[in-house]
């Protein structure tokens, strides 16, 4: 009787023995790398209706973040400034500029500029800027060196594990309260030996329970 299975089928058990575990590992690695918010979310750099450069305003000219995002210490949201804030200066500076035309138009008509949100934190996570600023977390810890970006992009994954990394060990992320908006701050800082800090590290208990952020 002729062989029912051709000879090459003898290799199937061996191929499966090696191939199956390898492909499982490969799939796990692929999901770990390409399904992570480090891949799916970080690097998002939408085009904006106005070519506003943070590198020029915050970097070169050294304006404080809070000149425009003035609600950051008081509210959950670091508000995108109204057009009036742009016009504080641009009424006089480059009043003929082509690139500022949408700003002038918005100021005259009262129609807001539709900026594209860069950091799209899902609605299921409640984030409040105010306590983070009050605790002394620098802007650049989450937003990166905005003062070096012409077009703002998302630098960090903003994933849950990324949040928790810091919530579990906030100490190394902190800086003096008056250095929060200094994006270049890169000094060693010990929160417990800072006489100006009201709440020491022990009193600072970032929530780790679910309802701390999901509420």
């Amino acid at each position: 009787m002729a062989a029912f299975f051709p000879r090459w089928t003898n290799q199937i058990p061996l191929a499966l023995a090696f191939g199956f575990p390898l492909s499982v590992v490969a799939i796990i690695c692929a999901v770990w790398y390409w399904a992570s918010p480090r891949y799916t979310d970080a690097g998002y750099r939408p085009e904006q209706p106005v070519e506003f450069s943070h590198r020029l305003h915050a970097g070169e000219m050294g304006m404080d973040c809070r000149y425009c995002h003035n609600t950051v210490e008081r509210a959950a949201v670091a508000a995108i400034p109204p057009t009036k804030t742009c016009m504080n200066c641009h009424k006089l500076i480059k009043p003929e500029s082509e690139r500022l035309a949408p700003v002038r138009e918005s100021f005259e008509t009262g129609e807001p500029i539709r900026w594209n949100r860069v950091h799209l934190l899902p609605d299921l996570a409640a984030f409040d800027h105010a306590p983070h600023v009050a605790a002394g977390v620098g802007c650049n810890k989450c937003h990166g060196r905005i003062d070096q970006m012409d077009v703002v992009e998302q630098k960090e994954p903003l994933s849950m594990s990324w949040c928790l990394d810091c919530h579990r060990d906030p100490g190394p992320q902190l800086r003096p309260r008056d250095q929060v908006t200094n994006l270049a701050y890169n000094e060693h800082y010990d929160p417990d030996s800072d006489p100006k800090r009201k709440r020491k590290l022990d009193e600072l208990v970032p929530p780790l329970h679910c309802s701390g952020c999901h509420r």
């Binding site: 891949y39 799916t40 304006m63």
Partner: protein, 211 residues
Amino acid sequence: MPQPSTLRFVLGALVAITAACQGDRSAEPPVHLIRNMDHQQRFDAQEANPFFADGRGMRLPVDGTVAVGQLRDDGHLHRGRGLDGKLADALPSQIKLSRTFLKRGQERYGIYCTPCHDSAGTGEGIIVQRGAGMPRPPAFTDARLLSEPLGHFYDVVTNGVRNMPGYADQIPVEDRWAIVAYVRTLQRREYATLDHVPKRAAKQLGWTPPK
């Protein structure tokens, strides 16, 4: 066995996918396979809402209405003017002058005023220095400004003057007074004499008043 052309396609696709790295820039919004509750049935601050004709999620107050707690009826605190309608030359009674208050003023001044007025108040801020069209504001030590009452500075910060815009929208009332108080200290340090220095501070610094 699969055809070589299929194999080449699969390999090519794999290479194309795997060549993309974490953190690569993209103008396309993030793709989430599982979108549970990413967008909930609510509108966040500054979010667009197509329900309204103007597209704003945040509604403007109805014309002629005042929200609870927003009635600015204290002439001194909110307008810098006394009962006689003249600019007051004192801090409102609600505000206590203290070291922390002045420090607050210094910090707020640094955020909102230094771009034009510079940190010492000479009017040579970075925006003026760049010469892009912003005229140089007067130094706080100008004789005219030295004789102005505190209320004048509050009024200017709130409503603006000449080329300066008003900052009522950006800076809360108490912070505006803190800035005003700090501007006064910037003026003082220009013509201060040893008599102005508290005795204890002078002793610590080793300054002795002239005999």
